[in-house]
């Protein structure tokens, strides 16, 4: 028992330091430093606002469409940041892994937590715009933290799987890059779900990310968002994407655990 506590104490100490140094390193040498974490979503919002309210008018029926868009992009960016950041991180930290025995999952957690910090900064910007745009805050907004949790777990599961597989198969990073590009369009981020045929929407919404993005928009921005419940006309349809998330976490952690013993000799 003492041993287990000791072990997790070590992981925790290490995790904290890794996140700290990660954060320090990220903006080193840049003039505005940490400010970029806030400036980036602001700039994205400005672009979206101009493009989608002045030129492309695909979101005309949706109230607060720029915020609706921004929220989707913020969530999507988090997913990309975690998975793309983690794919090669085990190999990148090879020097450390070859010379010291420590729980390897700490590396993945550290990278994901750095992304999580970014997500919270980005969400702050979203909330500010929601306030400025006088978006109604409804009770249903309270489920949003649960959605963030689901998003985090799903991203983490993929990160564990991809990073462990990358140690053996270096093609994974390229495959994943292409896959992410495709998935961006297969997820209702830029377009409202109402634009596509219902059968396609039914398939698309089984993707946990699509479900998370649409549910978040529903909870925070507008009731007019189509969610998995409205597409299937049945709110228990959510079980599918949620199960996908849980099953991926199980498979990924078992795989990562099994492979992590051999990271030191394979990186």
């Amino acid at each position: 028992m003492q041993n287990i506590r000791q072990r997790y104490k070590y992981s925790f100490i290490l995790l904290k330091q890794l996140v700290k140094s990660d954060f320090k390193l990220r903006y080193q040498g840049s003039f505005l430093g940490y400010m970029w974490s806030l400036l980036r979503p602001l700039a994205i919002f400005a672009i979206l606002y101009v493009v989608f309210t002045k030129f492309l008018k695909i979101g005309e029926g949706v109230p607060h469409y720029p915020i609706y868009l921004l929220l989707g992009i913020v969530i999507w960016n988090f997913f990309v940041e975690v998975t793309m950041g983690c794919v090669s991180v085990i190999v990148a930290k090879g020097d450390l892994i070859r010379k010291i025995n420590f729980p390897k999952y700490v590396i993945i957690l550290a990278t994901s937590i750095s992304a999580l910090i970014n997500l919270f900064l980005n969400l702050t910007i979203v909330f500010i715009f929601m306030y400025l745009n006088k978006v109604d805050v409804r009770m249903v907004a309270l489920i949003f933290p649960l959605l963030v949790l689901e998003l985090y777990v799903f991203s983490l599961a993929l990160a564990f799987f991809l990073s462990a597989a990358f140690v053996r198969f270096r093609d994974i990073s390229y495959i994943w890059e292409v896959f992410v590009q495709g998935a961006f369009y297969a997820t209702p981020i830029l377009y409202p779900l109402s634009l596509i045929p219902i059968t396609a929407a039914k398939i698309i919404m089984l993707n946990p990310l699509a479900q998370i993005i649409q549910d978040s928009r529903y909870a925070l921005v507008t009731e007019k968002t189509q969610t998995i419940a409205t597409v299937y006309n049945n709110s228990s349809a959510r079980i599918v994407p949620v199960s996908i998330v849980l099953i991926s976490l199980c498979i990924a952690s078992i795989y990562f655990r099994k492979r992590s013993k051999y990271f030191a000799e394979e990186v």
Partner: protein, 392 residues
Amino acid sequence: MDDVAIKVNNISKNFHYTSGRAGTIKSAFTNVFKSKESKNKDIQHALKDISFEIKKGEFYGIVGRNGSGKSTLLKMIAGIYQPNSGTIEVKGKLVPFIELGVGFNPELTGRENVYLNGALLGFTRKEVEAQYQEIVEFAELEKFMDQQLKNYSSGMQVRLAFAMAVRAKADILLIDEVLAVGDADFQRKCFEYFKQLKQKKITVVFISHDMNAVSEYCDRAMLVDKNEVIDIGNTNAITQKYLRLFMDNNFKQDGAKTNQDRWGDQSITIKNVTAKSREGKIKIVVNVGATQDFDHPNIGFRLRDEEGKEVTGTNTRLEGVVISRLKKGESTKVTWTFPAVLRDGKYSVDIALQYPDEITVADWWNSAATFVLKKSRRLPYILDPDFTTVVD
């Protein structure tokens, strides 16, 4: 079992070769179709069936040539590598790394690296803060802590790494070749630290090529060669055996008389060399013959120990002996005698015949002869003069 700190039972370790393109999905597919036999060719044995025990409080040396598997063994004890078969039992808290300065990031400042490295050692932020001043003073880097590590000299980095490493609180320490780096001052600090470890009865597993350090600090040692344990025993016996591995190699080369071991224009040549140690004296005799007329040759010798370190030597010029002229076909004999103040061990003699300019070589022969100096004990130092010890 209570007094055992590390118990290694029949461990073996293989590495699978990964050639340039092995880590791709394509090769994963093609490998499926390879026969089992051809797959076996890609396996490299790193360690074969190794067993030993290290007792609590023991300073245990592991010696062996490069590539013999020492570091792999240490990494397996540290838990970095997993053995393919066999088990390793470790009792007590183990420092999880084997090298200095693990995790140092050149982009971070010295201060930030102290906290990062501290975390790897298992220290919380508060614990590092409490020791911070001591660490900085020990490393003698007071003025540099807010500079990025990449601006440090390698000596400064090592000092900082070492200052951190000595903070580690553990029952078992694994040390891989620390002494290879750093200046004399730093090495002294290392040795002082080792002495402290011995006093505190901390178990230390120590890999080194420095036989003097092994002899001086280790209680027992193990010789690893070609992925197997050759012998385990008292330090002197093991270091001797280790050094013999090299001597044996040198002898093989003697027979071949490769260019690396003998060169020169052969205008005068070394005919034969004898070296003996008898009755407290060492006697070296060289017979030199001239193939053409030669004025004022300078004839010299040099002694090297088992590690190839130059121990002593001289030449006729330095000794003030003038050899005026050797006519074609003539020969001469030079004899050196000196007290056997060297320590017990095997020595080889290099002989050089040079032109008076002391640069051009007529005949140079490395390991032209060898001799063994027998003493009642082997000191960890180069010199072993005849001590008189009086206790009143």
